[in-house]
Each structure stands twice: as structure tokens, then as C-alpha cells.
Assembly symmetry: C2
Homo-oligomer: 106 residues x 2
């Protein structure tokens, strides 16, 4: 499992409009091959900042499958105009959970 993480800086004043657009965009990403789950959460310290997390089966499901798909154009059209600056998207390999679950059930 690969976790995509992006800190989204939404232009101030557009937070409500962004959240509504994100709700329309969710089914796009959720319908992609290799999609496992996602969350969008709103920063309590800086209220125009959001954390997007998407879990994918493989890195390529995101970087090639999703970004190379026609659906990505719909995603972009819905969301990209809200960001300033444009977000850095990074990928993370999970280390802790399975070990921890193992220890809990020992």
C-alpha cells in the first residue's frame, strides 16, 4: 500500500467552494484502478490548509494510472484552481501498522 499525501493550500475565502468541489471530485478518484481509500481533513491551526491522503495499491496506480487517465482532467478542472501555491504531492510506504497489529494480537 502506498499513501499519497499532499498539503493543499486553498486560496483564502474559497474554502467552502473548495470543499463542495472536493465532494464532487471524490467519486472520480474513488473509481480509479488501485484506489483503496482517501481522506480530506482541514487544518485546525491554519484554516485554509487541508491534508489530502489517498491510499493506492501501487505507486503507478497514482502516478501513471490516475494521472494518465481522462478522469484526471476532470479532477484537475474541479480542483486545481483553488490551490496557491500548487501542492507538492509525495508518496509514502507504510511501515508501522502491520507490525503494530501483530504485536497487539500476540
Amino acid at each position: 500500500m502506498i499513501r499519497e499525501a499532499a498539503m493543499l493550500h486553498v486560496k483564502e475565502g474559497l474554502e467552502g467552494e473548495f470543499e463542495a468541489a472536493f465532494r464532487r471530485a471524490e467519486p472520480i478518484i474513488a473509481g480509479m484502478k488501485g484506489y483503496l481509500s482517501h481522506s480530506l481533513s482541514k487544518c485546525m491551526e491554519e484554516t485554509h490548509k487541508y491534508l489530502l491522503l489517498v491510499e493506492w495499491e501501487t505507486l503507478e496506480d497514482h502516478t501513471k494510472g490516475f494521472r494518465g487517465s481522462p478522469k484526471y482532467q476532470e479532477w484537475k478542472a474541479l480542483l486545481h484552481r483553488f490551490y496557491s501555491p500548487f501542492p507538492v504531492v509525495e508518496h509514502f510506504q507504510d511501515l508501522s501498522n502491520s507490525d503494530y497489529v501483530k504485536r497487539k494480537t500476540d
Copy 2:
């Protein structure tokens, strides 16, 4: 549910030692009041960077309960020496999942 998120920059060369220390530290956080779940994942683009996510019932379970507890001193002793710079820890309120689950089951 509150999601604590911190990007951890681990001193280069100490990644293996940090991961082993984190495995020892996991039961500390997992035993706290209000703890729901956590994950540690390793950045694929910058391999000395890690994303720590912890889900808490309330903000205060983290900021007061955990940080104010004697157990936090153990957590610090295990982990804080690996970080440079010291991480910024932020808190996020989840927006997407419950709505999305609702729509999926409609």
C-alpha cells in the same frame, strides 16, 4: 476524530535506528486515552522523511492528555533525538470520509 500529522525529517544515516526506536515507541502512544490509530510511513521521494499520522478522539487527548503525561517523556526520550529540524505538528478535522461513505451506500 482529530488527525495529528507531522512530517518527520530524520537525520541522514539514522533511518534504521529511528525505525527501530519507533517500533518501541508505538505502544506508548497506542496506550493513551483517546488514541484511535496511527501510521508511520516513509517518503519514497526523500528517504529520510517520514509521515506520522495519529488519530485521536479529541484535540485535547493529544495536546493535553498525551503531551502532559509522564509517558510523553518516554516517547520524547526514544524519538526526539532523531529529528532535524524538529517537526511541526498540526491537527486536522476529517471532512470527507463520512460523506463519501454515505454517498457510496445511498
